[in-house]
Amino acid sequence: MRLSLQLALRFLREGKTQSILILLGVTIGVATFVFVAALMDALQVNLVQKTLGSQAHIVIEPREAAPRPLFETANTVFLRRVMGTEPRRTSFDQWQRQLRRVEATDGVVAACPKVTGSVLIVRGALQQGALLLGGDPQRLRRIVHIPDNMTRGVYRLGSDDVLIGATLAADLDVGVGGPVRITSEGRSVTLRVAGIFRLGNAAVDGGWVITSLRSAQTLLDRVGDVTAIDARVASPFEADEIAARIRGRTGVKVQSWMARNQELLVALRAQASSGLMIRIFVLLAVAMGIASVLIVSVVQRSGQIGIMRAVGVRRQVVLGVFLWQGAVFGIAGAALGCGLGAIAVRGMESSALFAIPLKPELLATSLLVSLATGLLSAFLPARRASRLDPAAAIRGDT
């Protein structure tokens, strides 16, 4: 073992109380670091999952007609106001070709053409407005996680089947196998409830009905047409860049979930920033704790450092003695802090409504950050110790 490490361990053992106290401080600091990081990550993932559980990462829609001025005459100035047109039905030109382009875009893992529109659901004397979503069941399941969230019945979308949100089912007092009539602009069809789902989103659970693509096209008078193509990407936070790529390939209107949920993104960023600030302040407190203890140690041991130098201990070894102490605080504090942080996370998880995973990367990062903090905070005291004038140190003049 190197002399610097041997002396560092002896010094730590000699100042046992001081060592234990600062180790406790580092442990609590690292535990806070681990806990806050795990909690913030889990909260972010949970929020994103909740948000994206019922919506696509990217929505590709036909281009809307641009509003035009009513008059356009050369050399004439009009005081005019350009108004947008009333919402009108736009067919999705060549959507099958666009679907192939979307699927071929890097980062896209699934795509589903869909038809959506407002309908009225009638069950006996009860009736309720709803959003009808029609799609291919195999494609749709990769976009919206309906199959994992079936509370009753099965995920099946045959020509007579309809899936219905749990709240809506309760409002209409309908169960699996029960018939419901769906009407839209004079067209009407009666389907049987194949399954009831609950996504945990009030708007979806209380207002969605899902049918096959063909049923929806018929009911909404869009035979052969779709209203949009939904896409899912491998990394949700890259949705903006992938949306831009799709826009470049298709030339139609493409929106990422980030563009459609700006407020959520702002909230997530604010949350991430506050989490980062907490972690930075905790690390600063840890660093100052280690540095102050080691500075006191250097002052207390200046006579001993002088003697060490006098008997032939090199300047670099003295530097190493104090750097090792910082490293030991960092490593031991990280090991204990990760353990304490894990206990705190497990304790929090039991009362939280979502899972808080402890990723190995977070523990590895905590170890490295703690080690770096220990070494950096030990550097100044170590440098001061190594630069002590041995003669002055022995005399006690430092």
Partner: protein, 236 residues
């Protein structure tokens, strides 16, 4: 006559930048192998400053300093530290043992500094020296468990670990009672005679200085006497 193991030529040392105070004013001095030399002088005369120059703990403002024939003036800190550890031993008034190390580890420290760490094979020599200073049974004790006299004997043992040619002792008995003081001095004389190790002992104790074979008196940064005890100190 043997070659000098230490030679100072016109060594000067000043302190302070704006108003420089010259503490050593041109010291010429030689010490030969096996000499037992006392360095005496009033407080503030420059004894400790001179000892720091000889011990390579400080650098002269001017002059040359040769240790074992090596001119130390141009050496870097690493070379100075290596030379100091190999060639010189130190005994200080206040023992200055490292409380974090056991007695045996304190003795091994100069050797560990050379080897880059404590090694089990060093314990043989360390125990041998410890036995020579009469403290075999204290190897695994902590310094605070020993009396002042015992601690000073451990400090002497540490100074001998690398078998230095010259041991510098700064008031080695100044903080001890008469009995311990005599015992420590006897130990130095015994080592000097047995191993031909040179000693330069800074002391205020004229009786102790008389027991050395050579006495150097320094006053106001200059050597004003250098010779046999009776020549420098006068008749008893």
């Amino acid at each position: 006559m043997t070659q000098p193991i230490l030679r100072l030529q016109g060594v000067r040392r000043s302190f302070g930048a704006e108003v420089a105070v010259e503490v050593l004013k041109g010291i010429d001095l030689e010490i030969r192998q096996g000499e037992l030399v006392a360095l005496i002088g009033p407080s503030g005369s420059g004894k400790s400053t001179l000892l720091n120059q000889i011990g390579l703990l400080d650098r002269p403002s001017a002059g040359r300093l040769y240790v074992d024939g090596t001119d130390t003036i141009g050496l870097d800190d690493g070379a100075i530290t290596e030379l100091r550890g190999r060639f010189l031993g130190f005994v200080f008034q206040f023992h200055h043992l490292l409380p974090a190390l056991t007695v045996l580890e304190n003795i091994m420290l100069p050797k560990a500094a050379q080897a880059g760490g404590f090694r089990s094979e060093m314990t043989v020599r360390a125990r041998e020296i410890l036995s020579r200073v009469g403290l075999s049974e204290c190897a695994d004790k902590w310094p605070k468990q020993l009396s002042g006299g015992m601690q000073q004997r451990v400090a002497v043992a540490r100074a001998l670990m690398n078998a230095p040619a010259l041991v510098l002792a700064d008031e080695p008995t100044g903080n001890l009672d008469t009995e311990s003081s005599d015992r420590v001095f006897e130990l130095l004389v015994e080592i000097n005679e047995l191993h031909d190790t040179a000693f330069l002992i800074v002391t205020h104790d004229r009786a102790l200085a008389r027991r050395c074979e050579r006495v150097i008196r320094i006053v106001d940064g200059r050597i004003v006497g250098d010779g046999l005890p009776q020549d420098v100190l006068g008749p008893e």
